[in-house]
């Protein structure tokens, strides 16, 4: 059988392009065929490379089958088991990263119990002094990662520490002492080893590793273990591998074919151009020196004369790897053994006139120093390297979208560009993903500007709402549990499905929850756990839920009837078939409360697993494959975690926060199975060793400080000590430089770099990433500064900037929608944009209520926006309130007075005068205010009591005035509808609350209640005209329709008695109002009601007075604060520019003060309490628009 094995050996293929490497690998595969059914083993570092490899194999031979892609770490442990036998080596190391965490956690919690080593562990003990278990867990994870790294990169240290020698051996074998206060690392490691069973000591990674290498080196070709080894292992596209792993593969090559396909940017021997080359001592050198010059003899100061600057700046990691490989690589022998024509696969020098990008790539390949660069400008239309500067990630993406459309549409000599030829790499995809979806997702499939796209590398927790919700639930014991968070739970489909809530009903449920007074907290017990017992249970979810259920049970309880059950004020909006939504909320709240009860106490990992499974069953019902996949992943992570703990014999109680972190952290493990490239352009994070070729490579978000990314290494990482550097060590900084180099080399047509080079706030200059600066500097030095400037485009702040549409501008955009904005005014008069005329309008709205008409009069531009355009400027309408009321503003007070009066009067209206005389009004009002308090409409505690007293004082005189009016007019009359018809347009007002006097005195009245004030505060009973607009319209209508009687307006501060108008003049005025309405619905009319009234009532300088009223004075806010007015007429001069303001004011609005002077008599309430509130911001129409 052994004779059938393929000829073993070590082969390193170097090439500057992955395609070249692949061709030779494929040729080898074809030449040396594996046994049937034996899988071809490839080691790759990322899903991207793996996927590319499989596609390439499939394209070459029509099928890609029996291919086994593995991560080097996975492969290594699997190889141990093959060599030593599965009986000898368990499935996982007793000290692998995940188990180590739990061993360490146990040790760290007990640390203080050991007085002997107090000195050594002092640094840790002081960090953990708070006793916070979460802190302890995080530290355990950091240390576990570190020890894992040591096991891979510094096994010799661990060996020494285990033997009690607390020293660090450096690259040359010299033993050095620990840096100050770091010797705990050795002691802790000894304790970790002490937790192992005696037989497990032999199973930790460094020991197994040495045994395996030993066995491989000693065993002969006919050894039975050889048959268990894979016949060929191909390491594809890696630019970094730990030295011990290289040694293992080197040993394996005695029995198997080990093929390295190494992306090497340069054809010459270039190791010496970067510092640190003295540490690389491999005697063999694979590649020839450039121009026969041995650079190792050159002083460091001289090297820049011989080196390519970008390769020198970015290539350290790649250099280390290539040089380490040389130790195992006998190139000549390998070439002969595998019978290959070429093992150095570099493109031959092309003619010098390629694109700028190709020139750069060639210069790197040929190791051309900067002095030998051509120093001439590239072709003017060469866009192979471009820089785009925008103001924010969203703008960067908008610019990218435009530029990609250009690129995709540009005809080319070779194959046309497809979206899947484009890759966009960013430092952190999770930060960019929402912006990507917003910008690239805005064009539907049928839009010619639609570019298909895929986003990969998203963290599961950051992108999956189900997991985000789960994370929230696992933090419930520390959460305020606000209304918006609760509502958000129902927006997760899997949770909504579990509680049988239709997604369409979620907004209604949210409205109910808000209306029932839910603000934060689950129930009183949860608040107590947060230390907020004093807040009681008002505004908690349970409070709101009780109100809803009570409301469903008893309906809207009539005022004052009977006792209140357990102080629960019913919320009466719930009814009909939708009431089962409340049932869903009840189940959810119940589940959460239950979870809080048994989910808060610490327990051991197995207990947590049980609880988490119950939680999942309780909250989640999968709605599709994605949900099922999430649940599988959750279950897998949970099983993984309990396995880890079991392996570490960890069964101590841990709190929820630690358990949940440990569980959910398991979701983000890297998997080779993740899909990378789809049919569209690929958005991904900059990940090392994914240098697969793309026609267009875009780097976005290349801001200084964002890239190179910040390293997350702890500062006690001993590998990072400068004196302990060894070749092959990884550093985040080097990683990011290597990735920049790979990105530059893997672009075939275009390298596109963009960053937020201007502050979005103040437009100040923001520097790009240092790496981008280096690239730009290199281009400027090697070609010309002008070449860089010509390839750098600064974009304006906004996508709709005029600069995109100016003739001859260098900027282009495909967002043609914005073009219309910049077409001069004449262009607007297309049929779609012709202003509507009164004739268009008149027939369509045949019926207007007096209230609508009054609203229109109060603010004609608002009426135009809302009724004609459907535009509402209401900034806060969407957000749910998460806080209970702390104070009441003028608007709140207004609305509360309205409610109290309405609820107090509703029963009283039907009462006889005798009964009315008997009733205790204060008590009736107080019971209504108490209801408000129980419903949570007033602040809690003392401030609430103050507010309710204040309300009582405001309402009492009004109700008293109402009663005295009712006693004077005891007979109830039927309501009538007063209407006025002008050529089909009808104005209507329903006049209810009409009462007549005694038989002897048949005079009648209709009563209106106004919750605001109607008198000027300073003036002697001077009526505020803008508060009476609706009453004015109603009065005109009543008079025109010849409905008898006075009107009584009972307001906060006075009662107004209003005489009817002469019918003829009333009709005339109504006609004028309809005329105004017709105008107002065709355009925003330049009228503002308070300003107009000021203009016609001012005693002198009417224009000045009006201007102050509009723009505001020293102590008053102007009417222009209204968003609709501000949008159309930002200042007084724009309001009055065409003179129509003055006309409307003096013809129409002047009628109101005249009417007040001749028809209205005011009587102040006898005990009118001086109001403490600000005057209302709006007119007297009953509705007040809701900008708080």
């Amino acid at each position: 059988m052994n004779s059938d094995r393929l000829k073993p050996g070590f082969l390193a293929l170097h090439g500057n392009r992955v395609e070249l490497l692949f061709d030779t690998v494929a040729e080898l595969i074809g030449r040396y065929r594996l046994a049937p059914l034996e899988p071809e083993v490839f080691l790759v570092q990322s899903n991207g490379t793996g996927e590319w490899l499989k596609m390439a194999l499939a394209q070459r031979s029509g099928i890609c089958a029996a291919v086994n892609l593995q991560l080097p770490g996975q492969f290594q442990w699997a190889l141990y088991r093959r060599v030593l036998g599965p009986g000898e080596v368990p499935e996982r190391s007793p000290l692998d990263d995940a188990t180590l965490v739990w061993r360490l956690l146990r040790l760290l919690t007990d640390l203080h119990a050991d007085p002997d080593h107090a000195q050594v562990f002092a640094p840790l003990a002081s960090y953990l002094s708070g006793g916070d278990p979460e802190r302890c867990y995080q530290l355990a994870r950091q240390i576990a990662d570190l020890y894992d790294q040591y096991q891979v990169h510094r096994p010799d240290w661990l060996e020494n520490w285990a033997d009690g020698r607390a020293t660090l051996g450096d690259a040359s074998g010299v033993q050095r002492p620990f840096p100050a206060s770091q010797d705990w690392q050795a002691s802790l490691w000894q304790r970790v080893l002490a937790t192992l069973e005696p037989e497990e000591h032999a199973l930790i990674r460094p020991h197994v590793h040495e045994r395996v290498i030993d066995t491989l080196l000693k065993s002969r070709a006919d050894d039975p273990l050889v048959a268990r080894l894979p016949q060929r292992v191909t390491v594809f596209g890696l630019s970094h591998l730990a030295y011990p792993t290289l040694r293992l593969l080197g040993a394996l090559s005695r029995h198997s074919q080990v093929v390295f396909a190494v992306p090497n940017p340069c054809r010459h021997y270039w190791a010496d151009i970067i510092e640190g080359h003295k540490l690389l001592r491999a005697a063999r050198r694979r590649h020839p020196n450039r121009a026969g010059l041995d650079l190792s003899a050159q002083a460091l100061e001289q090297l820049h004369r011989y080196a390519h600057p970008l390769l020198a700046a970015w290539g350290r990691q790649s250099r280390d790897f290539i040089r380490l490989l040389d130790e195992f690589d006998d190139a000549g022998q390998a070439q002969a053994r595998f019978n290959l024509a070429r093992i150095d696969l570099f493109d031959e020098a092309e003619p010098a006139d390629g694109t700028l990008l190709q020139q750069v790539q060639r210069h790197i390949r040929e190791l051309l120093p900067i002095d030998s660069h051509p120093k001439q400008a590239p072709l003017a239309d060469d866009r192979s390297i471009v820089f785009h500067i925008a103001h924010s990630p969203v703008r960067e993406l908008e610019v990218l979208h435009d530029q990609l459309l250009d690129l995709l549409a540009t005809p080319t000599a070779d194959r046309p560009l497809r979206p899947r030829d484009v890759v966009v790499m960013v430092p952190d995809i999770n930060r960019f993903a929402p912006a990507i979806r917003a910008v690239f997702g805005q064009y539907a499939d049928h839009d010619p500007r639609h570019i298909p796209f895929d986003i990969t590398d998203l963290s599961a927790r950051g992108s999956n709402p189900l997991l985000a919700a789960l994370q929230w639930v696992t933090r419930l014991n520390e959460s305020r549990c606000t209304l918006s968070e609760l509502c958000a739970l129902f927006e997760v489909p899997a949770i909504a499905a579990r509680f049988e809530v239709d997604p369409q009903d979620v907004p209604r449920l949210a409205t109910w929850m808000q209306g029932a007074g839910i603000r934060w907290g689950l129930n009183r017990a949860q608040r107590s756990a947060l230390g907020l017992d004093a807040a009681g249970d008002m505004h908690t979810a349970l409070f709101g839920l009780n109100r809803m259920l009570m409301g469903y049970a008893v309906g809207m309880r009539s005022a004052g009837a009977g006792q209140v059950f357990r102080d629960i004020e019913p919320y009466g909006e719930i009814g009909g078939l939708d009431a089962e939504l409340v049932g869903a909320l009840a189940s959810l709240v119940e589940s959460l409360v239950r979870w809080l009860q048994w989910g808060c106490a610490p327990t051991h990992p197995a207990g947590w697993a049980e609880r988490f499974r119950a939680l999942l069953a309780d909250l989640i019902k999968p709605t599709g494959d994605a949900d099922r996949a999430s649940l599988d992943a959750l279950e897998f992570a949970l099983a993984q975690w309990t396995d880890d703990c079991a392996a570490a014999a960890f069964d101590t109680d841990v709190p929820l926060s630690v358990a949940a972190d440990a569980w959910l952290d398991g979701l983000d493990a890297p998997l080779l199975a993740r899909r990378f490239r789809g049919r569209g352009i690929t958005f991904c994070t900059l990940v090392p060793m994914r240098a697969i070729p793309f026609e267009v490579v875009c780097l976005l978000g290349m801001n200084d400080g964002d890239y190179p990314r910040r390293s997350h290494r702890p500062d006690f990482d001993l590998i990072a000590l400068p004196s302990q550097r060894r070749p092959g060590d990884r550093a985040r900084r080097d990683d990011d430089r290597q990735m920049m180099l790979e990105a530059l080399l893997s672009a075939r047509r275009v390298l596109y770099v963009s960053w937020s080079g201007r502050s979005v706030r103040d437009d100040t200059h923001q520097p790009p990433s240092v790496l981008v600066s280096q690239l730009r500097h290199y281009l400027a030095a090697g070609w010309s500064p002008d070449a860089v400037a010509a390839r750098t485009i600064e974009h304006p702040l906004q996508a709709f900037s005029r600069r995109y549409f100016e003739a001859g501008a260098p900027l282009v955009t495909h967002a043609g929608e914005w073009r219309r904005v910049h077409i001069p005014a004449t262009g607007l008069e297309t049929s779609a944009h012709r202003p509507r005329t009164p004739e268009d309008q008149r027939p369509s709205a045949a019926k207007v209520s007096a209230t609508q008409l009054a609203k229109l009069l109060a603010n004609p531009p608002r009426a135009y926006f809302q009724q004609q355009l459907g535009i509402y400027f209401d900034a806060n309408a969407q957000s749910l309130p998460d806080e209970e009321p702390f104070t009441l503003n003028a608007l709140d007070t207004y609305q509360l007075i309205d409610q109290v009066i309405e609820h107090t009067l509703t029963p009283l209206r039907a009462w006889s005068t005798d009964a009315l005389q008997q009733v205790d009004l204060s008590l009736a009002i107080r019971s209504q205010i108490d209801r408000l308090q129980r419903a949570g409409a007033l602040p809690l505690g003392g401030p609430g009591e103050q507010e309710s007293d204040h309300l009582q004082a405001l309402v009492e005189p009004m109700i008293a005035a109402w009663r005295s009016a009712r006693l004077s007019y005891p007979n109830v009359l039927h309501p009538v509808t007063a209407s006025f018809n002008d050529r089909g347009t009808v104005i209507e007002a329903s006049l209810d609350q009409r009462y007549a006097g005694h038989c002897a005195d048949p005079a009648s009245v209709w009563i209106r209640i106004a919750s605001g004030e109607v008198l000027k505060r300073s003036g002697e009973s001077q009526v505020l005209p803008h508060r009476l607009i609706e009453v004015w319209v109603q009065s005109l209508l009543a008079s025109a329709a010849q409905v008898e009687g006075h009107a009584l307006v009972i307001a906060r501060d006075a009662t107004l008695s209003i005489r009817p108008t002469d019918p003829e003049s009333a009709r005339r005025q109504l006609l004028a109002l309809l005329e105004l309405r017709a105008q107002a619905l065709t355009e925003p009319l330049p009228v503002a009601v308070r300003t107009a009234l000021e203009y016609v009532t001012a005693l002198k300088n009417p224009l000045d007075a009006a201007a102050t009223a509009y723009e505001g004075g020293e102590f008053s806010r102007g009417e222009v604060d209204d968003p609709f007015l501000a949008r159309c007429f930002p200042d007084f001069s724009s309001l009055t520019s065409d003179g129509r303001f003055q006309t409307y004011a003096s013809t129409l609005y002047a009628a109101i003060p005249e009417w007040i002077a001749t028809h209205v008599t005011a009587t102040q309430h006898p005990a009118a309490a001086t109001s403490l509130d600000d005057p209302l911001p709006d007119s007297g129409s009953a509705h007040v628009s809701g900008a708080r």
Binding site: E301, L303, P708, T764, Q766, H777
Partner: protein, 143 residues
């Protein structure tokens, strides 16, 4: 005791406070001092005014307020390093009013010394640690 600032001669030891109004060149001075730190300049010229050895960017912490200011400072210092490197390589001349750089050039007059200096500057620029910002953790922000 206050004294007139001389970026070229200021002793690089102990703690020093530089006070000046806006726009008088504090950033410029910091960039110049940075240059001296990277070169280990001083101990040969006037003993006691330099740092005991040439430093790498990873060994120097520069702090300021806000992300924007950190970025700007970082960018300015790095540009200053590159400007000086170009001068020492002989690719360009120091600006006429740049006394500091002229004196520094005069100090490292020997061509071998200049080459070494340029290499030190280039190395510092190449290993530049970029601006980073972290909120209110003393010692953790800087560039």
């Amino acid at each position: 005791m206050s004294q007139v600032l001389d970026a070229y001669g200021l002793a690089l030891s102990g703690s020093r406070l530089i006070e000046a109004s806006a726009g008088t060149g504090k950033t410029w001075t910091i960039a110049s001092l940075y240059l001296r730190l990277v070169l280990g300049h001083g101990e040969a010229g006037e003993p006691g005014t330099g740092f005991q050895k040439a430093l790498m960017p990873s060994e120097i912490l520069v702090m300021t307020f806000t992300r924007a200011a950190t970025r700007e400072l970082s960018d300015r210092i790095r540009k200053r390093l590159i400007e000086a490197e170009q001068c020492f390589r002989g690719h360009s001349e120091p600006a006429a009013d740049d006394q500091f750089l002229q004196r520094l050039m005069a100090f490292y007059a020997d061509s071998g010394l200049r080459e070494h200096t340029a290499w030190q500057l280039a190395r510092a620029a190449k290993r530049w640690m970029s601006a980073r910002c972290s909120r209110s953790t003393p010692g953790a922000s800087g560039c």
